[in-house]
Symmetry: C2
Subunit: 186 residues, 2 copies
DNA sequence: CTATAAGTAGACAGGTCTGTATCGTTTGTC
DNA sequence: GACAAACGATACAGACCTGTCTACTTATAG
């Protein structure tokens, strides 16, 4: 493997393990074993495990939002339909075998101190999601785009939590139905 | 302190620490130090830390639902208003200094294996919450009580997640508004 | 080709984790 | 008041944690 790609691969593997087992439960030894690199290499790229976690969250944030944008744009062209399409993306995520709840909410739970860089990365991700929803709401010419965005965000979070615990991807469809009802006439 | 109360106090302290720092981050040494008991005593009552966590979740579940019922019954007598009142209870919780997200969602994140007793306790709690919401929905004579209950549950989860990350208790009021809109005409 | 940077392997330090063993003390009960 | 159960204090085992250090190897750029 090319050297420039080693760091990427490391982040990818770490993301997978943190997502599945949690940030405390997945140790550095396990990450390097799974990634097939030496511990020295990890600590050359990241000065600490927390540093790695922040990098992982940044990566997951980028991937998540890129994937969301792409899937939404592909499945709908009409602005209002795009908003509803975000819930379909959610459902696909829930139905996948690698869904263990929102990695950002997990991080916020395990690093509950708001001053922690990990927590701040979570806040950043959620704000970017709200910003994206607001962009969609503006496109659909909803009356109060920011308020609509917060509503969509709240429904996304609710669906994710329900899907994680109850284990049914249909929570996304429920949230979609609620969104359709509540956003139309505001 | 009376001996029969020691166990209760231990569970109480453990609940507080797990809620604030997370289940992995808060070790048994810290729990016993804060509770003022010996490690021997803890392991006489619980055969493992996981066992303690399950006991904590059971306790928190009972307290949470008792508190919800009591507060709802006190603030509203009309069935439909009781449903809306659940969101006020949520807001009070969010505004408190001891709010660090839902302890059950945190547990589900840290013990993601569905076969784990900890996870199953989380599932039980959420099912009981849905059952309570369904009871309220039935009282309010909503058309589809179970569906309404799931909607209320989803909104509760969404509000909790938003409040945890964004840090604004008003997420509960937002969820309340959505509930009022979407549940009335179904 | 050669210098330099990055990689591997693995021991190791120092701390923390869960859980157990020992033993003296306190407390509730009969 | 005596006895048994529970508790406190503490040392300890053994595993695992993050992070560092050394020594050797490989790959890349000039």
């Amino acid at each position: 493997m090319r050297r420039a790609l080693k760091k990427d691969h490391l982040i990818e593997v770490a993301a997978k393990l943190f997502n599945r087992y949690g940030y405390h439960a997945a140790g550095v030894d396990r990450v390097i074993a799974e990634a097939g690199i030496a511990k020295t290499t990890l600590y050359r790229h990241f000065k600490s495990k927390d540093d790695l976690i922040v990098a992982v969250l940044r990566r997951v944030d980028a991937q998540y939002r890129d994937n969301m944008r792409e899937a939404v744009d592909k499945s709908a062209s009409e602005p209002w339909q795009k908003i509803l399409a975000t819930f379909d993306v959610l459902e696909t995520w829930f139905a996948g075998a690698t869904f263990f709840g929102c990695p950002f909410m997990s991080a916020a739970s395990e690093y509950g101190d708001r001053s922690n860089p990990v927590f701040q990365e979570v806040v950043m991700h959620k704000r970017l999601m709200v910003a994206y929803f607001e962009e969609l709401a503006r496109g659909a010419e909803l009356e109060n785009p920011h308020r609509a965005a917060e509503t969509i965000h709240l429904l996304h979070e609710g669906a994710t939590a329900v899907a994680q615990v109850i284990g049914e991807a249909s929570a996304a469809a429920k949230a979609k139905t609620i969104a359709a009802k509540v956003l139309k006439e505001t």
